[in-house]
């Protein structure tokens, strides 16, 4: 129940947030589209030579980095997300089934969420160090020779593997938290009924827990796809601003779509670069939008039990 309309009072309460959002959120949104269609925009002079429909998009897409970025971003997204969703699901189911030490485990699993992506990226880079790293030390116990994961001239696939491990590590915390709270809200009656029927544990998991959790699993998977598609800080953490192991060529770069945006922005003074940054960000937006629309469609129709 609300009181009657009072536009003036509402305006008073809304003004501070709305002014800030207009300047730093709404206007940038429209301006990104405006910039992306300017021809030869000179940022220093704030002037352009008219408009171009696809010019800036073409510049972005025909750049060899674009293909590399698309490949890297897709691999990061479609490999790390399913793996971390499955691991997070198993961990939260396991965590939900134990009583002792549950709180302690929960705290440990949540730690990656509150840490600094750059600092932990540096730690991971050192874990993967060829000579002084932990991973090669452990592999050495099994007679495996040191592998050059992220060092000088490291191969793209090795560097990508290291990045994926870090990405999965970083993605677990949030998913575990959400799944765990989802599990705790499942009605206990289902499990009591299963116990009365002496249903095996595996069937309880596949016939009760996972179906009841399915809307949440789906939601988390799609939002994680979107999040992973915006990967950037993890790569800076592990590889620095060059976004690739030292000594490697740009074709072996681990650059992502967000990396393209910031690369273009870093050269904003050059002709047309600001527009290319805007075009790249619109491409990123379109891709994440597809994920969002798919999610909206499916969660409208299916998944509910």
């Amino acid at each position: 129940m609300l009181e009657r309309q009072n536009n003036l009072k509402a305006l008073f309460y809304l003004a501070p947030a709305m002014v800030l959002l207009s300047v730093f959120t709404f206007y940038p949104l429209f301006n990104a589209f405006f910039l992306a269609f300017l021809r030869d925009y000179e940022f220093l002079l704030r002037s352009a030579k008219g408009f171009t429909l696809f010019g800036n998009f073409k510049n972005v897409i025909t750049d060899p980095d674009f293909g590399i970025a698309m490949k890297n971003t897709s691999i990061i997204t479609f490999i790390s997300v399913p793996i971390s969703v499955i691991i997070a699901l198993l961990i939260s189911v396991a965590l939900n089934s134990v009583k002792k030490l549950q709180g302690a485990f929960q705290t440990i699993f949540f730690l990656p969420y509150v840490t600094n992506a750059i600092a932990i990226g540096m730690a991971f880079a050192f874990i993967f160090h060829a000579d002084y790293g932990l991973l090669n030390t452990i592999l050495g116990w099994f007679g495996i020779n040191p592998i050059n994961w992220v060092g000088l001239n490291a191969s793209w696939s090795n560097a990508m593997f290291a990045l994926l491990v870090y990405t999965i590590w970083g993605g677990l915390a949030f998913k575990i938290m959400v799944f765990l709270s989802g599990l705790q809200s499942i009605d206990k009656q289902y499990y009591d009924a299963a116990r009365v029927d002496a249903t095996p544990r595996r069937r309880v998991l596949t016939k009760i827990t996972i179906p009841l959790l399915s809307p949440m699993i789906f939601y988390i998977t799609v939002t994680s796809f979107i999040g992973a598609f915006k990967a950037y800080r993890t790569i800076i953490g592990m590889f620095g601003e060059t976004l690739r192991p030292p000594g490697t060529l740009s074709k072996d770069s681990l650059i992502t779509i967000v990396g393209l945006v910031y690369d273009a922005l870093a050269h904003a003074d050059a002709t047309g670069k600001m527009s290319e940054a805007a075009a790249a960000s619109i491409i990123l937006f379109s891709i994440t939008m597809i994920f969002t629309l798919v999610q909206m469609q499916i969660s409208k129709r299916r998944v509910h039990f």
């Binding site: 959002l21 485990f105 509150v114 600092a119 002084y132």
Partner: protein, 294 residues
């Protein structure tokens, strides 16, 4: 009969062992980067550089705590970076809290023209990648004279670092949910007593929603602490702590000093861990809720 009971008991115990092994295994996986960071930060430069493979533990007498941490602390002006980061976090968090409290109150409690449409428009912006805003915000901040590659004053740097972050659609949404849960009866009772909206907001709603507000304060401050991209773009001469991390930790011959680098990483990570340990409840609740509501 006796046998089957024993059998199920054994199976239950085996299952428990399996579950705990699984959990311990992944707990170790999660903790390894922290352990490696701490361990390396305690070793001497020599030890890190000469031991192949590296030792996985460290003897008490080999610990070079002061050496590494003091040099990491001095390698970049961390003291300045931290003070600046804390100041930026304090300003933007205070701003965010006030603007979102006001706006959330309007959306949760007041009736005005176009309310639902406006709220929907705000929520929709959450789907848009931040990079899209960053480009124009960089231009805006330059146009306002807060940033120029030629140089900026400390005040200009602070304006550039804080003004775009004085409000947040996500926290506004989050707070509105908390305000919505307060029963209408309370509001009606306050109205009967002649309490003004302003007083009702500060005396009733804010105290009731204070756990949510605390969560917002913590998450927002932690976000500033880990900010990297924006400060690097618009405050080149006034970096925040996380920017300091990527400064070179190299010795005279260009060799990376890993112990120093890891010490620096730990210096930046530790405050986050301490805040987490003390305010775990608020952070975890905020996160699991944000996941459910979306």
């Amino acid at each position: 009969m006796q046998n089957t009971i024993r059998e199920t008991r054994i199976r239950t115990i085996l299952f428990k062992v399996l579950v705990y092994t699984f959990l311990v295994g992944f707990a170790i996986f999660v903790l390894i980067p922290f352990y490696w960071m701490v361990l390396t930060s305690l070793k001497s430069f020599q030890q890190v550089r000469t031991e192949v493979p590296p030792s996985l533990i460290i003897g008490l007498k080999d610990i070079r705590f002061l050496e590494n941490y003091a040099s990491a602390w001095n390698a970049a002006p961390y003291y300045q970076y931290m003070l600046r980061t804390v100041a930026v976090a304090a300003i933007s968090t205070t701003g965010t809290i006030f603007t979102t409290i006001f706006a959330a109150f309007a959306f949760a409690r007041l009736n005005f023209k176009g309310r639902d449409f406006l709220f929907l428009a705000l929520i929709s912006t959450m789907m848009i990648p931040g990079e899209m805003f960053v480009i124009t915000n960089y231009i805006t901040v330059s146009n306002l004279g807060w940033y120029s590659p030629l140089g900026q004053t400390q005040t200009e740097a602070f304006l550039a670092l804080t003004m775009p972050f004085m409000t947040s659609v996500f926290y506004l949404f989050f707070l509105r949910q908390a305000f919505k849960q307060i029963p209408d009866e309370l509001y009606l009772a306050a109205k009967v007593d002649g309490t003004s909206d302003w007083k009702y907001l500060w005396k009733i709603m804010v105290p009731i929603a204070s756990p949510t507000i605390i969560t917002i304060v913590i998450l927002n401050a932690m976000g500033t602490w880990s900010a990297y991209i924006w400060p690097k773009l618009v405050a080149t001469e006034y970096p925040l702590v996380t920017n300091g991390l990527r400064e070179a930790y190299q010795d005279f011959f260009g060799m990376v000093n890993y112990s120093q680098q890891m010490a620096a990483a730990l210096i930046v990570t530790l405050p986050l861990l301490i805040v987490f340990m003390f305010l775990k409840k608020y952070i975890m609740r905020g996160v699991s809720r944000s996941g459910i509501k979306g």
